[in-house]
């Protein structure tokens, strides 16, 4: 039995160690390029889930909030798991409830992983060398744990902010090269103020294009069999002109593309983020799927999973066109 257990573990490890970009390409080829963001906002969680959570938590409201976020996250994951290969839980919504919320975040990621999904933890962390290493340990495991190391196997990739330069990114790239993890570095973000700094002119280019070129070079040692690097970029769908320029500068980097749906971008807007092979991008929608039940009068709160499923199917259809 011990022997079987071990070889099972080795088999699992060999899957985890496979280049992240290759795993992502496999997933996209099987299920399409949609990524579902998991953005649990307590005031938007269906009432019956909140009531159950309040009852289970016996009056501890922070615990109840965490339980409600988790059951909603699981519900969305269950609703979409047959239609997509990757989900992106947003850490901020969980962190609002302190360590209770972080527990829910871990459980939500682990549940998505257990259902065969790739998990991109949207954490947008940044820090200097040795502290960046601590963050890499926080999400990918490997922190000192007395005579052991921590073992975290429920996150495949994280989002990062590169303002501090290479030494803040390097610890994560090492996980990409050696342990099959992935990162998506902010290049051009989807929000309205993204131009404040990202579009500043540097040597005849936009600042975000300089960042893009760094991302390209940082990812050179993490290119998988499919020609894509596990070091990717965040490129908002709301800025198709910049996306087209960045696509040319970063032919081997996967784009995580937020901004579709609730933030206003359309299927036309995301075209620029794909390469001519039809690969190279995953298109994220969060609110448009999580809260599809509230956007259309034909659903009730109890139908939030059906509404999410329908929204993903519709989005795949729109993107496929």
């Amino acid at each position: 039995v011990n022997g079987r257990k071990k070889s099972g573990l080795n088999y699992l490890k060999s899957i985890y160690m496979k280049n992240f970009a290759d795993r992502l390409v496999d997933g996209v080829l099987a299920k399409g390029a949609v990524c579902v963001g998991i953005d649990p906002r307590l005031d938007m969680v269906p009432s019956f889930l909140k009531d159950e959570a309040l009852q289970e938590a016996n009056g501890d409201k922070l615990r109840a909030a965490a339980l409600a976020l988790l059951s909603f996250s699981r519900g969305i994951i269950d609703a979409v798991k047959d239609e997509v290969c990757v989900v992106k839980p947003q850490s901020a919504f969980y962190e609002q409830y302190g360590h209770h919320g972080v527990w829910a975040f871990e459980e939500a990621c682990a549940y998505a992983k257990s259902q065969g999904l790739l998990v991109v933890a949207d954490v947008k962390r940044s820090d200097i060398d040795s502290t960046a290493e601590a963050y890499a340990n926080a999400f990918f495991g490997g922190a000192d744990l007395f005579e052991d190391k921590t073992d975290i196997d429920f996150i495949d990739a994280v989002t990062l902010n590169a303002y501090l330069g290479w030494d803040g990114i390097k610890p994560f790239v090492e996980y990409c090269a050696k342990q099959g993890k992935g990162i998506f570095i902010l290049a051009k973000t989807s929000n309205r103020s993204s131009g404040d700094f990202q579009n500043l002119p540097v040597d005849g280019q936009s600042f975000c294009e300089i960042v893009g070129q760094y991302i390209d070079s940082w990812g050179a040692d993490c290119v998988g069999e499919n020609g894509y690097s596990s070091v990717g970029a965040v490129v908002g769908a709301t800025h198709p002109v910049e996306a087209a320029r960045l696509r040319k500068l970063m032919p081997h980097n996967f784009f995580l593309v937020p901004g579709f749906g609730a933030q206003g971008a359309t299927a036309d807007d995301v075209k620029a983020s794909f390469n001519s092979d039809g690969l190279g991008a995953i298109i994220n929608s969060s609110r448009g799927i999580n809260y599809a039940y509230s956007a259309d009068g034909k659903y009730s709160e109890r139908d939030y999973q059906e509404a999410a499923f329908d929204a993903v199917v519709l989005m795949k259809k729109q993107l496929g066109a």
Copy 2:
């Protein structure tokens, strides 16, 4: 009793609501400009604290790690609390142990606060508008909690990364203006790679100088009675030339200055970060104080608090000169 409780709460709230920069100036005038970073690394926590934690956690190693980090944090806080007005716990070191670690982070911040210290949570967060609001709620309270809002009163200020522009900073600035909170936005960081992006040339200036000018304008509505804004900047002591330029561009913004000690900067290097009034900067040292016991043969692990105290006193002397 209820009446007394309420007026006590109101009194506390009136203190918390006072402009952060004014509270910081009060603290600096009373105890000097040293900020002690709390960077608990499990392998550097004295063995006797780890043994106690392992015993208390009954074999749960993640819980034991969190307990060890917390008792070390409390130990450092106790050692330095009479000599400094502000501490800066680094979230990454706690996050390494998941929700257990985040619990320890919360407890460490709350303990520092209870001892009369200002608490700068070093989290370097960044995100777009509505998600940035969730992060602001995470550290300053105010998230939806069924019919209530979360109430978090143990963090005075956070560090932020402004790569996403104004809408990612705005929710925090509102807490500065309305609830006496503070922020320190990364301008020029202390690490070796900080020049990768921060020193890129934009219109004849360094990129970090553009960021500095934004910080100056973003903080204009949060200037306190002492003439300083609660919107501050992170400016590494390891780059005195840039610090001098930023000081001129940002006369009203407090600088949080990392890099002293273990990272190599000296008292001479930090001069440029102060205004002519002798104010405008707090100088942080983390490793040099936390692990002073290991740097000098005259201390044993059991003396880690005495070593930290001596290191702070020495640093104050060096800075005072």
